[in-house]
Each structure stands twice: as C-alpha cells, then as structure tokens.
Symmetry: C2
Subunit: 150 residues, 2 copies
C-alpha cells in the first residue's frame, strides 16, 4: 500500500492525472501497477484500478485475476468495483475512503446513489429500445456450442 | 440500435467475444463502436460500452462525451454504468434488459446487489489499510494549483 501511495503522489506531481494508484500483487510480487490517467489519456475509464487490472490480465494472459490481491490508494468507485467483480481477484485493500475522496472533489457517492435509482429517475436518461430485436444477440450466443463464458 | 444488434450478433458468430455491442453517436453520426472482447483480449473490462466509450473519447480528443448518445444492445452492467457517469454522454439507449442477460448467463444483478452491501459483507473481501497515509495523495492533489478536475 505504501508503494501505491508513493506512485499516486508522484502521479499528481508529474501532472499525469488524479491522485490515485493501484497495484496487483500475486505470490508476493507486484505484477501490475496503474495510476489515474483520465485527463492525460482522454479516457474516462482510465482509473488506477482499471489500468492495473488490464495490465495484470495482460501479464497473466488471463481475463481473471485468480489468486491476486489488488491494492488501491482509495476505495474503488462503482465502475472500478464492477471491474473488480468481473476480474475476480482474491482480495482488495484500499487506503482512503470514498468520503475522503469526496472531500477532495471526487464524488463517487453520487454515482453509487444513481446506480440504485430506477432508470427513469437517473440524471442521465437511460431508455429501453428494440428489446425484442436485441434478444437475437442472446439467441445467437446460446446457440453457439463453443461459446466461452466469462 | 439495429446496427448495434447486427454487430453484436456478428461478434458472437466470429468468436470475438460475448453477445454485446455499443455505438456512440454524435450529431447523427456513429463516431465509435465497440463489441465485447473480454475473452479474446484477456481484458475483463473490455465490455462493449467501455470499448466504445474509450474509442469515442479518443476520436473526440476529450475525456467527456458531451452531446453524445450511447446505444448498447443490453442494459449496462454496474461497471459500464459507472463508466457512463464518468464519461457523461447526453443519453443512453439499451436493447435487452439485465433480466434478459441473466437468462443468457450474464448475472449483472449479482454485482448490483454486491455494490450496495457494506464492504465487509461482500463476496470479495474489501479491506481498509493505511488510510491516514493514503490521505497524502489528496493533500498533494489539493495543493496542486494547475490540477485538472474530471
């Protein structure tokens, strides 16, 4: 965690992005590290955890972080927590809390509150369209004998 | 949406990944498209929406999707919904529902339920560590006069 904190502080000093870093550790070894690069890479998904998860998976040649621990300098936002559930590491450790982040201007709590609202009450309109036709995607998937679940 | 559905069906047929696609539209023009590439790119974050958002932001040279609409063949999972809130498109349209996805084996609802649980009750342990030291990241950020908020 101390290593992640150092990297996050350096990320701010160097002007590379927000005050966040994350490391993926497997068998006591750091296999990937990520820092926030949203503004410098023009990628709103380039949160430290997402960057580290992608790099660790590339390193392992797997879409799963089996037996890995993720160290993040701050409590993950909903996007990153979702990514954690898809990547399935063994454990997650975080430093500062979401409330600490909010005090520094990063209001993840807003997104947490939006996620549990019915779609029609969210601040970004999320509207269903052509559901019947879209089911063709799943029919195709379920009919594919060699599909790879994830 | 019909175009997105076609791309998703083709993504399954070609064995490139799961039955999902997303398009970003600005001023009536498709500026980015993404399909699910989780298993073929070893990237658990390579959901169609994330791929499309990253590509659209690269195209626009911005970390915000101002004035853009996102069309996704299925209701976004929590990770993608989080990414949508960070990217801030104007509107989101989706085809199939999360319940339809669950019937095809994609249980996003599990992650939605996990997100609202207290950290200590989640299936992946999420543990706080060195909070006081981690606050150094935010102090560095708030002391940086030319920081770029996002």
């Amino acid at each position: 965690m101390r290593q992640a904190i150092e990297i996050a502080v350096e990320n701010v000093r160097s002007g590379h992005g927000g005050p966040f870093a994350a490391l993926v550790v497997k068998d006591g070894r750091v296999i990937a590290s990520g820092t926030n690069r949203v503004t410098t890479s023009n990628d709103p998904t380039a949160h430290a955890e997402i960057v580290a998860i992608r790099q660790a998976c590339a390193e392992l040649g797997s879409f799963q972080l089996e037996g890995c621990d993720l160290y993040a300098t701050c409590e993950p936002c909903p996007m990153c927590l979702g990514a954690i559930y898809w990547a399935r590491p063994a454990r997650v450790f975080y430093g500062a809390t979401a409330a600490d982040a909010a005090q520094a201007g990063f209001d993840d709590a807003f997104i947490y509150r939006q996620l549990v609202l019915p779609a029609e009450q969210r601040s970004i309109p999320i509207v269903s369209l052509l559901r019947e036709e879209a089911l063709a995607c799943f029919r195709e998937w379920l009919a594919k004998p060699d599909r790879m679940p994830y």
